[in-house]
Assembly symmetry: C2
Homo-oligomer: 197 residues x 2
């Protein structure tokens, strides 16, 4: 069967599409076992080792109740504290970088329910002092990860009618982060495009 615009091209496109699809599946499969946090940590290792930036995850704050010194300072009772800041901060080209990373299974919006008031206050302070503040949001079902400036999140948190940010805000105002092997997430390309161009 022949098509007006040429069978060969059509076939090639299909092959290309299949290749892309396979590559995408491979990436997705590779990512499935990995969390967004692990992807960011690995990317930060890459950026540090390549001399590009120094960005670290803040340790989870833990309230220690009991320590057994007979066992060499073994913690025997403690509980998780709520993070009052964000998960990541560091330095890139002399500028202070601060961000929070979150997943969502929603395909239509990012719900603000898992962002705390404390974090909003913290990010407002970062912006006030001239730092770069943003969110990295992974739309897991779409296999798309966006970087969005914190000001949008703050604005939706404080003035939004719905307790979520529509997906379209990310595609329009955010930057799609390239997913790869090393670094896993080229998120500093997005930072470069948004804050240094």
């Amino acid at each position: 069967m022949r098509y007006p615009n040429g069978k060969t091209y059509q076939k090639k496109d299909n092959v290309e599409q299949k290749k892309e699809s396979a590559h995408r599946t491979l990436l997705s499969a590779a990512n499935r076992g990995m969390s967004l946090e692990e992807d960011i940590n690995l990317s930060n290792d890459y950026y540090r080792d390549a001399g590009i930036a120094l960005i670290n995850k803040r340790p989870t704050p833990i309230n220690i109740v009991k320590v057994d010194y007979s066992k060499g300072a073994r913690i025997t009772d403690a509980y998780f504290e709520k993070q009052s800041t964000t998960d990541y901060n560091g330095v890139y080209k002399g500028r202070y970088i601060d961000f929070e990373a979150k997943n969502t299974k929603s395909t239509t919006s990012f719900p603000l329910s898992n962002i705390s008031e404390h974090q909003i206050v913290h990010l407002k302070n970062v912006l006030k002092h001239g730092g770069i503040a943003f969110f990295i949001i992974s739309f897991q079902m779409k296999d798309e990860i966006y970087l969005l400036d914190a000001s949008f999140v703050i604005d939706f948190y404080e003035h939004g009618k719905r307790k979520s940010i529509p997906y379209e805000v990310f595609t329009k105002e955010g930057i799609l982060i390239k997913q790869d092997y090393s670094p896993r997430l080229h998120y500093l390309d997005a930072v470069e495009a948004l804050y240094f161009k």
Copy 2:
């Protein structure tokens, strides 16, 4: 008994000296109960609330071995991990700030034994990326706290013959931090003088 240069002045000086001494003892007493860490944390609270800077203590990294979820995520076994970065970082006037604070009972030098190789690597990276990196060192017996740029510490760590930094390096190259009530430590005045003038 009369002195050539006037009894009255001598007496006034004594009173002033006693006042200063009393004030100093009061400050020392107030500080004695407080650790350097607490003083810095309180100063950071002050700087944050006054809208001057946003600097936080990184939580102590803890390796969690066992969590009892029946008790609502209670940690029942964990141990302290070595801090591979520094204790404090944040943003001041858009610049990235990173520092470590240490006490010493020595009056002649600051021993480098409680600084890890990891921290030196971290601070070298901070400087490489254009961040501001320093140490806050408290000479407890002298009741003097100095801010010293990280480059001196790195240099002594890597090229020093003795495993310590002489006190004179602090008085000559560092900045004496004013101790007060609020903020406890005016350490950003020292930062201002050293990096922004």
